[in-house]
């Protein structure tokens, strides 16, 4: 039925106002509004964190729905804070253990630089003691199958510095001794550039006012204690293909280095 409902917004509002007036207050609806407002009671009393590292707290579900459960929300945020502190403590512990382990491992590794000790307690003549090389480096030359093993009773096995120097006709058994007599060393400094004994069998290597070439020479000695040009690294291993007798030169055996075939090899006829 067309009851003459108003078309204008003003008349429609008046129509709705008259209906609302006839209804009277709706207490149930009022309680519903109050509950909804209480559920968002946080903006005034408890500010929800929305910045920094606590943004994840802002994504928590909006609870409580009733004011009597508001304390539960505060307890929830407190528990979340405790949880975050636990996570931070665990992360700090893991970082500490990892760092300590790395430091311990780096401290256990042998130093690459040689240590200089005197051969005699009061001797001023130093002896360069090579660092103990790792097993892989020490045994690397043995991997070259072409090199014959050194017999245990070989005369040059386990040479001392003096014997090694004698074999190589070195002027002094110790390279530092020769270096100490270099003319570039300063003479006005009683200890300058020389390797002097400290009195307890150890030598102090000092280079006050030393020329740069002496330092470079010493650094080269440190890096290349064996003097083989490999700087302490194993010698390059030559791969010998099958069919080549040990000890023979590959180029002499083949006439030239083996090359790859461009055309495929035809299959051999089956017997």
């Amino acid at each position: 039925m067309n009851t003459g409902l108003p078309e204008s917004p003003e008349d429609r509002l008046l129509d709705e106002l008259l209906r609302e007036q006839s209804h009277g207050p709706d207490e149930a609806y009022l309680r519903r509004i109050e509950a909804a407002v209480d559920a968002r009671h946080l903006p005034v009393e408890v500010q929800r964190p929305t910045s920094g590292s606590n943004k994840w707290l802002a994504r928590l579900p909006l609870r409580p729905q009733r004011p009597e459960t508001r304390d539960q929300m505060e307890n929830l945020t407190h528990r979340q804070h405790i949880r975050s502190f636990k996570i931070l403590a665990i992360a700090a512990g893991i970082a500490l253990v990892t760092g300590a382990g790395l430091w311990w491992r780096s401290a256990d590794q042998p130093a690459d630089a040689p240590t200089m000790t005197g051969t005699e307690p009061q001797s001023a003549t130093p002896t360069l003691v090579k660092p103990e090389r790792s097993k892989s480096v020490a045994e690397a030359p043995r991997k070259n199958r072409l090199a014959p093993p050194i017999p245990m009773d070989a005369p040059n096995r386990g040479m001392t510095d003096e014997r090694m120097a004698a074999n190589h006709n070195l002027p002094e058994p110790n390279p530092f001794g020769a270096m100490s007599k270099l003319p570039s060393l300063p003479t006005n400094n009683p200890t300058g550039g020389a390797l002097t004994g400290s009195g307890n069998g150890k030598l102090l290597a000092r280079f006050p006012g030393q020329a740069a070439d002496n330092r470079a020479e010493f650094a080269d000695l440190v890096r290349n204690p064996t003097g083989d040009g490999n700087y302490g690294l194993p010698a390059p291993v030559e791969i010998i293909p099958k069919g080549v007798p040990k000890g023979s030169n590959i180029k002499e055996h083949y006439g030239q280095a083996p090359q790859m075939r461009d055309t495929p090899v035809p299959p051999s006829p089956r017997p």
Binding site: G4, D15, L18, E20, A36, V37, H41, P43
Partner: protein
């Protein structure tokens, strides 16, 4: 107006004071929302959301403005959001909304203690008896439609509809004239 006096006490408003504002404004706001939404349940949800938003933004309320006007603005925004979310047609454009807001502002007075519904009740008491009976027969009984209301008054439908239109016009005039007094 008592609710405005409460609103002017911001920002020291506590939850109890806001409850009084809800109680004062929720009925007229429901009528306003029903004009916008057209459906009673949607209007109730809009008003509830508007009160929640108002409570969340109570610190930003300009105390120099009317609290009811601020609430109606929130309801309008909520209604527009609802229309966009559910892809509903916006039946009222900006000109109609402006006219509606102007009418409500003219019907409400800040220098009077009574609210809009109370003033409407005063105006109803001033209606002639025939018009008051028509209003009572149509609005005070939800289960009765226009035909039944006309039948209860013993008049035909056209006469009943004419009386209703005259009653609305008189009420609007009463509400607007109250401001001028």
């Amino acid at each position: 107006m008592k609710s405005l006096a409460i609103a002017l006490s911001l920002p020291a408003m506590d939850r109890q004071q806001f409850s009084e504002l809800i109680r004062d404004h929720h009925r007229s706001l429901l009528a306003y929302a029903r004009v916008l939404a057209g459906q009673p349940e949607r209007a109730r949800d809009l008003v509830q959301d508007a009160f929640v938003a108002a409570w969340q933004a109570i610190g930003r309320f300009d105390v120099t403005r009317d609290f009811g006007s601020w609430l109606r603005g929130i309801v309008r925004n909520k209604w527009r959001e609802d229309c966009r979310r559910h892809r509903r047609e916006v039946v009222l454009g900006d000109p109609e909304l402006a006219r509606l807001e102007e009418a409500v502002s003219s019907w409400t007075s800040d220098d009077r203690e009574a609210g809009l519904l109370e003033r409407l009740a005063e105006c109803r008491e001033k209606l002639p008896e025939t018009l008051a009976l028509a209003v009572h027969a149509y609005y005070d009984d939800d289960d009765r439609d226009g035909e039944q209301a006309a039948a209860s008054l013993g008049i035909n439908h056209a006469t009943f509809r004419k009386r209703l239109e005259r009653a609305r016009a008189a009420l609007r005039l009463c509400l607007e004239s109250t401001i001028c007094i």
